[in-house]
Structures are given as C-alpha cells and as structure tokens.
Amino acid sequence: MTAATPGKAVRNPFCTRHVHPGRMPALDAAGREIDLSRVLARLSEINGSAAIVGPHGSGKTTLLGRLADVLEAEGSCAARVRIGRIGDALAVLAALVRGRRGSVVCVDSWERLGPIWAHAIRWCAFVSRTRLLVTAHGVGALPTLWECRPTPAVLRALVARLPCGDTVMPPILEADVQRAFRDASGDIREALFLLYDTFEARARSVREAIV
C-alpha cells in the first residue's frame, strides 16, 4: 500500500449517490427528458390503472418516481409501494382502501405480486375507484402507459448529466459509453456500474501518475 497523499479523493460521478433512480431524470429512447405532463394526460385518458413497461434497468422505477412526485404535488398520489415481500401486497390493499376516489397508488415491481394478489388488488382498485400505476417487465393485463426503451442515447444523455467532479480526471468517452451499453446488454443501470469501474480504474492511473 502506498503512502496517503493529500487530495487523494476520487469523486466518481457514477457512484450510487448520483445514479440512484431517485436522482436521475426520466428520459425517452432519444435521450430527451420525458414530458411528465403528457404522460399524466395519457393516464387521465386511460382513466384507470396502467403500467410502465420495459426490460431490466430501462428506467421504469425512475419514471414512476418522477410521476409520483408530480401526483403527490397535486394531491393525487395515495401511496408508493415497492413490492419486495408478500406483506407488501397488504400495504397496497391498505393504500387502495384509504385512498380517495380517483387517487393513484404507485406500485414498483408489479410482477412480484403473483397472479392471485394482482387480481385481488385490481379488483380492490376497481371497487374503491382508485387507480394503480405500476412498473412491469412486460405487457400484461394493465394498459401500457409508457414503454421504457433503453438505447445508447439514453445512456449518453444520463452520463452527460452527471456531475463532472474533478476536472483533472479523464473524461468518459463515447466509446466507453457504447462499450458499456453493449457489455450490459442494454441494461442502463448495469452499464452505469460498468462505467463506474472504467472511471475508477482510469482515475487511479492518473492519480498514480501525478504522485
């Protein structure tokens, strides 16, 4: 191990602090920020429950979070629930029962509920006149509100928005972005983790050269 040197911190822009779903913007396939008002207008047109669909790491949770923020500001969001355990289904049911007519319960990871709970919750939403806005990997029984499609343009746009940190550190090149997208098979989240490693390795080389 080498001796410690002042200024040894490497502020990696791809750390979870910056790339956590709650911190990232919701982007469309072209890398532009999604017009949330248009999406919510479509949700009103559907006038019922709907799903945000897309493969792993395509931005579904991010978009759901952003929409929930707007709905909360309007007073229309009854709850946000991430399905992780069996008991979370009860949390969704409780939210539907407590929610005002027309309010929205945002559910992340809808498929984890399984068909029985999913049917029960949808029935409960119907009876209580509340709505569900969920994320799912594929098209199912709920109409599709938005399909998240991961593309290199999305990854490029996200990278461009990250804090640039120490300007001495080498930048992330377009080739790095393309390679990360390819190696992660289109999983944006995984690609960001790969870029973390790329940046970290490069930054260490630069720092050692300086020392």
């Binding site: 750390c15 956590h20 983790f193 973390y196």
Partner: protein
C-alpha cells in the same frame, strides 16, 4: 451583496455561498482529535434565513447504497439567528476514533461538515465540505472480483 440578482430583467434568488475554514493543514484530522471549522455565509439576507443546521457526519460513497451517520448535529432556529452563529459561526467537535476516511474502490468513506440553511420561502440550501479523518492509504485497485 444583495440577496437577489436580476437576470434578463427578472429577479431570482441568488445562490448563497458558504465557505468553511478548517483549523488543520490539508484538512486532515487525527482520530479523537478536536475539529474547529469556521463557516461564513454570503449572498443571503439575514432576514430570509429561518434556521441553520450545522452537522459533522460521515457517509459512504461508491457502488453500494449510501450509508450515513451524523456524529454531531446542531440546529439553530431562533429568529433572528444569533450574531455569533450567522452569517459566520464555528463548528467545534471532538471527532471519534472511527470510521476513518477511506478511498476504496467500490466503498469510500467521507467525512464532512454540512451547513444547511432554511429559508422563509420553504426552500433549503446545503453546503458540504469534506475533510479527512485519519490518513489511510487509498486502495490501489481490484485484485479479484468475487461477485
């Protein structure tokens, strides 16, 4: 310096500036040593600040979820804020023995002084100033990925 700047004829709140001066060279502190940090807030109307929080904390950074622990916390919300604490004041604290600041590969530990201003408008502003607890050598890189 006024609290508002006109941009293209419209007035908008100016960004406050908080500077912090640490009492040790290179901002490197030994474990269980005292830290004295003087802060200065500029660019805000004193009347617009409803409360001030000053804290000393560590957080993790890297590829894992961020963990955070507040070692020292003070909130000042007397209106008006005492002259000795705003716009300039001092954070004085005895630092613990651990965890030491660490520059790992996928796990990093950072210590900082945070100054948070709360405005009458409901907005808040945070300024973070990193220092080192201990003098640990950075990790050199990944030898092997286990998972």
């Amino acid at each position: 310096m006024t609290a508002y700047e006109g941009v293209n004829g419209t007035a908008r709140p100016a960004m406050p500036r908080v500077s912090v001066q640490f009492d040790r060279a290179g901002r490197v502190y030994p474990p269980e040593h005292g830290l004295v940090a003087r802060y200065d807030v500029e660019g805000v109307h004193p009347e617009s600040v409803r409360a001030l929080e000053r804290s000393v904390l560590w957080y993790t950074e890297g590829k894992g979820e961020e963990d955070l622990f507040v070692h020292h916390f003070e909130r000042l919300d007397n209106e008006p804020l005492p002259g000795g604490d705003f716009p300039s004041g001092t954070v004085t604290v005895r630092l613990p023995a651990s965890p030491l600041s660490y520059e790992g590969v996928i796990v990093k530990i950072r210590w900082c002084v945070r100054i948070r201003l709360f405005f009458a408008s409901g907005r808040d502003f945070v300024s973070e100033h990193v220092f080192d607890l201990g003098d640990i050598a950075p990790a050199q890189g990944i030898v092997e990925r286990l998972t």
